[in-house]
């Protein structure tokens, strides 16, 4: 038995886009301090699940619930979800020309601070805060004066995501293939950043294909997704087994309830 209440509860979630069903009954509960890894073939619905939790408007929840801190969030706008502490680290962070990264980070941080009834930061105070957080992901100050993600390398984009996570201090972070496209050094930097930001009160969902991220961050649970469902759940050894046997091994699993 756990002492605290769950942060996130996904209950028998069905969702579709353009009338095409993608999620077919996903259930997942995350308690504070837990790290959940979700693995599975491309197209199994991992990324969709993460976008739906963050409130992407292209997907329709057809049935089921998403609860955050005990409250149903199905009807909340993406910005409200973010302000209340849900963070999605994108697999492909999009470029936004003309919008300064620094200004974007500040507006975003202040939106979260406002929700938490904390004082909003002016440009000078924010500079201080961001300098400290840049250290976590070993990013150069020069990134701040560029446009959001514009001209960033794959690794820089991912580090920028973790920087945002560090600034927003979410209660739950869903990191969608944050490890893809990273070399070994960048992977270590990103993984250590994630570890430093997370604590006993936060929950993390890592969506990944590879064991190498899980070598750095040991998951509490590993879930395997196929065709819009979680078909198997286990401990960190499940990922190792999966690495050895490949997804073919899971093809014969029936859904475990």
């Amino acid at each position: 038995m756990r002492e605290s209440d769950p942060i996130l509860e996904v209950e028998n979630l069905f969702a579709s886009t353009d009338n095409l069903p993608i999620l077919k009954g996903v259930s997942l509960t995350v308690y504070p301090g837990e790290i959940h890894a979700i693995m599975g073939r491309n197209g199994c619905g991992k990324s969709t699940l993460s976008k739906i939790i963050a409130g992407h408007p292209s997907y329709d929840v057809t049935s089921g619930d998403i609860k955050f801190s005990g409250k149903n969030i199905n009807s909340l706008e993406p910005e409200e979800r973010s302000q209340s502490g849900i963070f999605l680290g994108f697999q492909y962070p999009i470029e936004i020309p003309g919008v300064s990264n620094l200004e974007f980070l500040r507006v975003s941080t202040n939106a979260r601070r406002k929700f938490l009834n904390k004082e909003e930061l002016d440009t000078f105070d924010f500079e201080e805060l961001v300098k400290e957080k840049l250290e976590l992901v070993k990013m150069d100050h020069a990134f701040l004066s560029r446009s959001v993600n514009q001209g960033f390398s794959g690794g820089e984009k991912k580090r920028n995501e973790i920087l945002q996570m560090a600034l927003l201090e979410p209660k739950i972070a869903i990191l969608d293939e944050t490890d893809s496209g990273l070399d070994i050094d960048a992977l270590r930097i990103v993984a250590s950043g994630i570890k430093k930001i997370s604590n006993a009160k936060t929950g993390i969902i890592l969506i990944t294909h590879y064991q190498r991220l899980l070598d750095e961050i040991e998951p509490t649970y590993v879930h395997v997704m196929a065709d819009g469902q979680i078909i198997k759940t286990g401990g960190s050894d499940l990922a190792l087994e999966l690495e050895k046997k490949g997804y073919e091994w899971t093809d014969n699993f029936v859904k475990e309830t």
Binding site: P57, E79, P93, P97, V148
Partner: protein, 480 residues
């Protein structure tokens, strides 16, 4: 796919300058003929050369056809159904601002342009034009100490006739185009600026144009002369009440820069744009041109065009002086059924002349937004360069954006560079910003101002903040 309804709501903010000032006005009869022109000239007590200038222009205008090459769709204008002179009634001679009708002062107060001694803006001198006449010009004495002349053009005709006679119509000849000819025949008021040799104008100069009456057109005329090694930054703002009829605004602006002189001319145009169905709004047919006469002279246009039902405007530079520089920075935003056809002409005549064009068009609703520009390198323009960048942003799926760049080079030893792009605010970009706690409308406005950044950077500081806000207001409800 973007949530279309959300994206469509961002341009619905009510127009806050739409009020009408209830004031007694002196209007002449509707219609346009020689007698009307003589009457206008007589009211303004003009010298004969100016009346001749007007009458000649009128004769030319009568032989000209209204241009249709921009492909703008609007109801035929009945030029006989317009009042060509309308002025608020006030005392004959006004010796100080305190004698200006309080209703007029109140009007400009409401527009954020206080004129009285106690309240006037401290860092900028203002010439306030109401319908056909200039009401007041602030900081005249202070400017006069530096030899700077800043007054209404009517006054300049009386007090600085030699300058008017020398320069009026030398940049935009009366026969230049249909609307310039019309303006030359009937122009009423506008601003006059003269910066003497070697003087850097100690403060920004600004004209604020207010159309108040619904049935009269506004035909202002502005002339700015910068003598050798002088410089000036001039700002222009415009608003009008909301009428369900269209009002014609046909202005002419002429700039002249001599050796090493520089003129920066910034406009924030926020005429009433008509309602969502396209009813009402200003027809803005404007001819603006600067002549870089002197060596190393520079003329820089920056404009933020957000209002008017129709905008037809091409602030241009004639680069005559060796190493002279022309610049054009523009943001044009259209929404609902607005149409904008705007751009510039950079005519390189002298050697080693340089021009830069940065145009940002944003179209929302069912609007049409076109960039139309000409870059010409004349036979003597050896070593000249042009760089043009024209970007369009589409909001929603009913708006259109066009780019018509005309390039004409007669000089092999010159460079012309043109870049163009079109983008749409994508759902994924919006989602990215939203997923970081940024509200939808703020996300749109961040992206729009990001798109316009290169142009806003060119605006005087107070203007840039104003422009940013204006764009956000205009777009409210058009995205989503």
């Amino acid at each position: 796919m973007v949530n279309e309804n959300l994206v469509k709501d961002v341009v619905k903010e009510p127009y806050k300058y739409g009020f009408v000032t209830d004031i007694e006005t002196e209007k002449i009869a509707k219609g346009l003929n020689e007698d009307i022109i003589r009457l206008i000239s007589q009211k303004k007590e003009e010298p004969k050369y100016l009346l001749d200038f007007r009458l000649k222009a009128f004769k030319k205008w009568q032989k000209m056809d209204e241009p249709d090459w921009a492909g703008l769709g609007y109801k035929q204008i009945d030029y006989q159904d317009i009042i060509y002179y309308s002025a608020p009634k006030q005392k004959e001679k006004i010796s100080s601002l305190d004698e200006v009708d309080p209703k007029l002062l109140e009007t400009f107060d409401k527009l954020g342009i206080p004129l009285t001694e106690q309240k006037k803006l401290t860092n900028v001198a203002v010439d306030a034009v109401f319908d056909s006449v200039s009401i007041a010009t602030t900081f005249r004495e202070e400017l006069a100490e530096h030899g700077v002349i800043f007054c209404s053009i009517s006054e300049a005709v009386k007090n600085h006739s030699e300058l008017i006679e020398k320069y009026l119509g030398t940049v935009v000849p009366a026969s230049d185009n249909y609307f310039a000819a019309l303006n030359s025949a009937v122009f009423s008021d506008g601003s006059f600026v003269y910066i003497p040799k070697g003087v850097t104008c100690p403060m920004d100069l600004s004209s604020y144009f207010r159309i108040n009456s619904g049935d009269s057109g506004q035909f202002e005329r502005t002339l700015i002369i910068a003598e050798e090694s002088s410089s000036v930054s001039y700002l222009e703002g415009c608003t009008a009440p909301m009428f369900d009829t269209n009002t014609l605004h046909a202005a002419v602006v002429e700039l002249i820069a001599l050796d090493d002189a520089s003129i920066k001319y910034s406009t924030v145009q926020n005429w009433y744009a008509g309602d969502e169905e396209g009813v009402g709004g200003i027809f803005n047919f404007v001819t603006k041109r600067g002549k870089c006469l002197g060596k190393r002279s520079k003329i820089s246009w920056s404009q933020v065009e957000t209002g008017s039902s129709i905008t037809w405007k091409y602030p241009s530079c004639l680069l005559l002086g060796e190493e002279s520089v022309g610049e054009f920075y523009s943001v044009a935003l259209t929404n609902n059924l607005q149409q904008a056809d705007t751009g510039t002409k950079m005519i390189h005549i002298g050697p080693k002349t340089k021009s830069t064009i940065v145009s940002k068009g944003i179209s929302a609703g069912n609007s049409i937004n076109s960039y139309r520009g000409l870059v010409k390198m004349g036979t003597k323009a050896a070593g000249s360069r042009n760089y043009s960048q024209c970007d369009s942003m589409l909001i929603g799926d009913q708006a259109s954006a066009n780019t018509f760049p005309y390039i004409n080079s007669q000089q092999p030893n010159s460079e012309i560079e043109h870049e163009a792009s079109t983008c749409r605010i994508s759902e994924d970009q919006l989602f990215y910003l939203q997923s970081r706690g940024i509200e939808f409308e703020e996300a749109v406005s961040m992206m729009v101002s990001g798109f316009c950044r290169d142009v806003f950077n060119q605006l005087p500081m107070e203007f840039a903040a104003e422009a940013d806000k204006l764009l956000a207001l205009k777009l409210e409800g058009s995205v989503g």
